[in-house]
């Protein structure tokens, strides 16, 4: 059984926001909606200050709190572990948004908000509305670029190895800090990294078993 997952090497991440922007481009995400984010904090006191950069996205947890919270079944989990939202079933109650301990969901409110207010929708925004028709009044989130993954598999490509079948944020990362692959396949690059570099999950105490791991 496949379980898609991601490993992010924090030592390589330079905080350039390429993942954030590439995700927005890939899915034509409207303004105010981010499926990838970078959290930046500083700990310690001068002269021993540490700057931490954590790229975060939906962790596609093995035991997703959002799927259990959703009263309609709009949020579901595929056999390959990807958690997705069916906008046509979502009622916008936002229980999933509250239940996600990683806060990786966004309530999409305004479908007419423009990137350049008062100047109308750009050509790209119009194309985006046709290709990714998000519905105002529903909850949206990262889908691990399942269109790319599915299409790649159909074409005989291997997600995480072949660019065309790999999530946009992984390909865009100039520092090659992100890795994508099958967590159930012991020989995959992600599994090897988790084992060798002792990768960790963010807040395992929530009990959701996230599929995104970090190397510190």
């Amino acid at each position: 059984m496949t379980r898609w997952g991601m490993v992010i090497n924090l030592q390589k991440c330079v905080g350039c926001y390429s993942c954030v922007i590439s995700c927005k481009q890939e899915h034509y995400l409207p303004t105010d909606v981010f499926w990838n984010r970078i959290l930046i904090s500083e700990t310690g006191k001068y002269p021993t200050v540490t700057k931490q950069m954590y790229p975060v996205l939906c962790a596609h947890c093995k035991e997703p709190a959002c799927v259990k919270a959703c009263p309609t079944g709009a949020t579901s989990q595929r056999k390959d572990g990807i958690v997705l939202v069916d906008y046509s079933q979502c009622v916008g109650c936002r229980y999933c948004l509250i239940a996600c301990p990683y806060q990786q969901r966004t309530y999409y409110t305004n479908g007419n908000k423009e990137y350049f207010p008062g100047q109308g929708l750009t050509e790209l925004e119009i194309i985006g509305k046709e290709l990714y028709p998000l519905q105002p009044g529903t909850v949206v989130k990262c889908n691990f670029c399942l269109e790319r993954v599915d299409e790649g598999i159909q074409r005989g490509l291997k997600p995480g190895v072949d660019r065309e079948a790999t999530p946009a944020c992984v390909i865009a990362c100039p520092a090659k800090a992100r890795y994508f692959g099958d967590l159930e396949e012991p020989q995959s690059e992600v599994c090897q990294l988790i084992k060798e570099k002792k990768a960790f999950q963010l807040h395992p105490e929530f009990g959701t078993d996230p599929s995104v791991f970090y190397i510190a």
């Binding site: 936002r94 948004l97 105002p136």
Partner: protein, 292 residues
């Protein structure tokens, strides 16, 4: 909160308490009040009380919830996942209460004293209990907010619902309704003391569920939500009604105006408590304190 502080520092939940989220707060208050009032009315055998509670649940709770949804016309879909979701279970319970409550009111009015009336009273009572209590379970499920992860939360909600129910029943008695005022006052005093104790125990125990839980309590007792807790919950919701209860206990004749003030304070207390609990829901930072 600044955008760059989001989930880097303690981050309050906003979806269920800010802007349109205020509707969730009002819906939860209405649900607790409606369910609690129905239970109290059953105990005191007040048909007026039962009718008012049914109206509160149908019109206010239902209305506020519907108004909050992003896609209200799809609300029927919310009953599809009772095996997983507390939201789904809650909606089913509310629907059952509305149905059984309506049947009970009809049988109590047309066929009083029959087995049907008893049956529907029992069923509506059970579902009223669930209506007042389920938001506690729904909030308790949220792992990311330690302040809500307490088994006391559903109990607190039902106790406050019943306390508010006693307040409305006293109002019905004052306006000449079919209620024994003395019994209602006694019940109100008991639940007032019980709710004050549970709130105190809840806040004390929440400080032991991790840094985010402690932060929530500190926000409640001395942070941005403190005025609502101290003025709304403690002064209006607990202090004033206790003062009025003590004075009316020792006075030979209770003052109607004092009782009305007590009821209003009681309502403010119920509204403030749910506001405090929703507003006090805080997520811990995502970034580990020092991973290196």
């Amino acid at each position: 909160m600044k955008p760059y502080e989001w989930m880097v520092k303690f981050t309050p939940q906003t979806e269920w308490i800010e802007q349109r989220g205020l509707l969730v707060w009002l819906a939860e208050v209405s649900g607790g009040l409606g369910g609690g009032l129905y239970l109290v009315s059953l105990y005191l055998d007040s048909l007026w009380g039962m009718f008012v509670s049914w109206l509160i649940v149908v019109a206010l709770k239902g209305g506020f919830h519907l108004a909050y949804l992003g896609k209200p016309l799809r609300f029927w879909r919310m009953v599809l996942k009772p095996q997983n979701s507390w939201m789904s279970r809650g909606l089913i319970i509310v629907f059952l209460f509305i149905g059984f409550g309506a049947l009970q009111l009809i049988t109590s009015y047309l066929f009083p004293g029959t087995a049907w009336e008893l049956l529907f009273k029992g069923l509506a009572g059970i579902t009223a209990f669930g209506t007042a209590m389920y938001p506690g379970f729904a909030m308790n499920y949220v792992n990311g907010i330690p302040f809500w992860n307490s088994a006391l939360l559903p109990i607190l909600f039902i106790v406050y619902g019943i306390l508010d129910g006693f307040g409305i029943v006293i109002a019905i008695a004052l306006f000449g309704g079919d209620v024994n005022l003395a019994a209602a006052e006694t019940g109100s005093r008991i639940f007032l003391v019980t709710s004050a104790l549970i709130v105190a125990i809840y806040l004390w125990s929440a400080t032991y569920v991790g840094p985010a839980g402690k932060y929530s309590v500190m926000e409640l007792i001395q942070g941005r939500i403190a005025p609502v807790l101290w003025i709304g919950v403690v002064l209006c919701g607990i202090g004033t009604p206790i003062g009025i209860a003590v004075s009316s206990y020792f006075a030979k004749e209770g003052s109607a105006s004092l009782l009305i003030i007590g009821i209003i304070c009681d309502m403010i207390g119920g509204l403030s408590l749910k506001y405090c609990f929703l507003k006090g829901g805080i997520y811990g930072p995502l970034i580990p304190s020092n991973p290196y």
